[in-house]
């Protein structure tokens, strides 16, 4: 549209990209308080999930699947309460029906939820970039065929696909279930990524530096990998950071339905599913994992929005 008419100015601006793009983006990101807050919260959650479980084990002896041997302890205690009803630091989030420490389980759930979010996003990134860049660069019939296929896949309700996949192939072991989850979620979320990358590549490929690369005899695969893909990174990063929370939510939803992560592993979704059964009596069993998840998802979304504003100022509204 405007690319053709604005080429000379746009070109001059394009040229300023390079190292300063990241510095510039960082400066803009720092100004956005919510995004910085989101970033800090995400860092805390990631750190806590990574090292938290082992710290708890050192401090109290509880792990995510440790069920106390003392039968009097196999009961759900409220947060910060010792078995005798007095205040104690032992279980900041209380324990569940089996007497397991909920904090330890939430942190483990965080590990798995974040892992699902990040790895599934990676899977979708790889498929999306490969498909989108190929379609955009080759153009013509190949592009037509690939994008029609994407359109068809778009029209299939992805939740159905994931449920069918998990119901069919799932349930062998908790770990294989987890891998299936990565693949299934990645496989349904690459479609938008492919469209974004294709659009970027199509507008980039008419630029002179791509023609220049072709004129120096650079092979097509190398042009895509070294010249086109790096130039699409801005929007791709933005979309990826926004994909992470949406995939995590999807995973929680599946686990909540009992299709996702299987016991004794836990994710925020499966913890919430466990908690909701005792909501009236032991509300902390739902509130603790639910709140953690809500805060993390908010933080990721704020961060993603902030990154979009920082990396893609033209998209900013108002």
């Amino acid at each position: 549209m405007t690319e053709v008419t604005k080429a000379p100015e746009g070109a001059a601006q394009e040229a300023v990209v390079g190292t300063s793009l990241w510095k510039d983006a960082y400066r803009r990101l720092k100004k956005n308080r919510l995004a910085v807050l989101g970033f800090v919260v995400v860092c805390i959650v990631v750190l806590a999930s990574a090292v938290g479980p082992s710290i708890i084990q050192r401090a109290t002896g509880y792990t995510y699947d440790y069920i106390p041997t003392d039968p009097t302890l196999v009961t759900s205690q409220p947060p910060f309460t010792a078995p005798d009803g007095s205040f104690a630091w032992t279980h900041p989030m209380g324990t569940d029906d089996a007497g397991r420490d909920i904090l330890a389980r939430v942190l483990l759930g965080g590990r798995i939820s974040l892992m699902v979010g990040v790895i599934s996003t990676m899977v979708s990134l790889i498929i999306g970039i490969a498909v989108g860049a190929t379609a955009g660069y080759l153009g013509g019939r190949v592009d037509e065929a690939i994008m029609r296929l994407v359109d068809v896949l778009y029209s299939i309700p992805y939740m159905m696909v994931v449920i069918v996949l998990l119901a069919f192939f799932g349930g062998r072991s908790p770990i294989s279930q987890l891998f299936l989850l990565f693949v299934a979620l990645g496989a349904v979320s690459w479609l938008t990524m492919a469209r974004i990358v294709r659009g970027q590549v199509m507008s980039l490929k008419s630029q002179e530096f791509i023609l220049a690369a072709r004129a120096t005899g650079v092979p097509a695969a190398r042009i895509i990998l070294r010249h086109l893909v790096p130039n699409t990174l801005g929007p791709v990063i933005v979309y990826a950071t926004l994909t992470v929370p949406s995939v995590m939510l999807l995973e929680s939803f599946l686990s909540f339905l009992g299709l996702g992560v299987q016991a004794p592993l836990a994710s925020w979704g499966s913890l919430a599913a466990d908690g909701i059964q005792n909501l009236a009596v032991f509300p902390w069993q739902l509130i603790c994992p639910g709140l953690t998840m809500a805060v993390t998802l908010f933080a990721l979304n704020f961060l993603g929005d902030g990154l979009r504003d920082a990396l893609d100022p033209q998209m900013r509204k108002g």
Partner: protein
């Protein structure tokens, strides 16, 4: 000796909705080793498409080379397999583009872009390629090349970037260098430097050069021979000096008159060829230049002009080529009366 490059009857057409734009329609020329050829013409005359056809980089669709032969060093480039053509690009035929601001990848260091060429074509190792990149930047006169080679394109000015492009193009010592308006986007002082650089490097490497431009001033001091193109055709082809002294085509004469003359202090408005270049999808049956031509007669509008040989080196596509050639040159007064005569009619 056989010419390095010979283009025969090249036709590159672009398919539009229901028409065909004949961007290049029957172009013939030869280029000897070590020779510099200028291709001159207005925008849309087919200069760039001719050269993209040589490189086989015409965007397709909508473009396609309909017919012709491009014989480079004894082989028809149009018949080569894509992979072999790729190995020729950058290695034996290199290209410099018009706008240095957009022809470097903004995300890659200059060193990486320079290294890519020699790693691909000369099989250089990383270290060799890096050393070569620094050397090439020194050759094209970038001060402090050792430090600047690691910079990104945005850290270079337009003239410096064009030098980087030239360094990239000459990295593999190509036999043919195609410069597509290499100075159009640069300011005048830099233009002179870049032209001088191309000239020196050409002498050092012995490469043949095709210089595309719409600025006759640029080609005057650089080229051995000039092709004048209009509407996808070669209108005149002559050795540089002769083209300037005895233009034998009204179009060439018009172009020459549109060059500002700094010694002229008559304050008369600068001559301009009336009208606009034609739409190559809707060409009239006769001479494509006839509607804008001061010399045009009825025959021009009905019959396509012949390709007249005036001397062994000098050809012109015009019904009146011989007459114009004999008259020495078109005197400004005669052609302006002819213009007014046309208006009165």
């Amino acid at each position: 000796m056989a010419p390095l490059l010979s283009v025969r009857d090249l036709r590159t057409w672009f398919d539009e909705e229901d028409l065909t734009a004949k961007a290049v329609d029957g172009v013939n020329f030869e280029l000897n080793r070590g020779e510099t050829l200028g291709i001159v013409g207005e925008s849309g005359s087919g200069k760039s498409v001719t050269n993209l056809s040589i490189m086989r980089l015409v965007p397709s669709p909508p473009g396609r080379v309909v017919s012709g032969e491009i014989v480079f060093d004894g082989r028809d480039l149009l018949k080569l397999p894509a992979e072999e053509m790729r190995r020729i690009r950058g290695r034996r035929i290199a290209m410099i583009f018009q706008d240095p601001m957009t022809s470097l990848n903004p995300f890659m260091r200059v060193s990486q872009q320079l290294m890519e060429v020699t790693q691909l074509h000369l099989g250089h190792s990383k270290a060799e390629a890096y050393a070569h990149a620094v050397r090439m930047l020194e050759v094209v006169g970038i001060p402090d090349a050792r430090r600047r080679v690691d910079g990104y394109p945005h850290e270079f000015s337009g003239g410096m970037r064009q030098r980087v492009m030239i360094a990239m193009a000459l990295s593999c010592k190509p036999e043919l260098l195609i410069a597509d308006e290499p100075t159009t986007a640069l300011d005048v002082t830099i233009q002179a430097q870049i032209l001088e650089l191309i000239k020196t490097l050409k002498q050092d490497t012995g490469a043949s050069v095709i210089m595309i431009t719409h600025d006759l001033g640029v080609v005057a001091g650089m080229t051995d021979r000039i092709l004048v193109m209009y509407a996808g055709r070669v209108f005149e082809s002559a050795p540089t000096a002769e083209l300037f002294s005895r233009p034998s085509n009204p179009y060439t004469a018009g172009l020459l008159r549109s060059v500002p003359d700094p010694t002229d202090d008559s304050h008369a408005p600068l001559y301009q060829i009336p009208g606009l270049p034609p739409d190559v999808a809707r060409l009239p049956p006769g001479c494509p230049f006839a509607p804008r031509c001061a010399r045009a007669e009825a025959v021009c509008r009905e019959h396509f002009p012949p390709w007249v040989q005036l001397t062994p080196q000098h050809h012109s596509l015009c019904h009146f080529a011989t007459e114009l050639f004999e008259s020495g040159s078109i005197a400004p007064s005669t052609s302006s009366t002819a213009t007014s005569g046309l208006e009165n009619r």
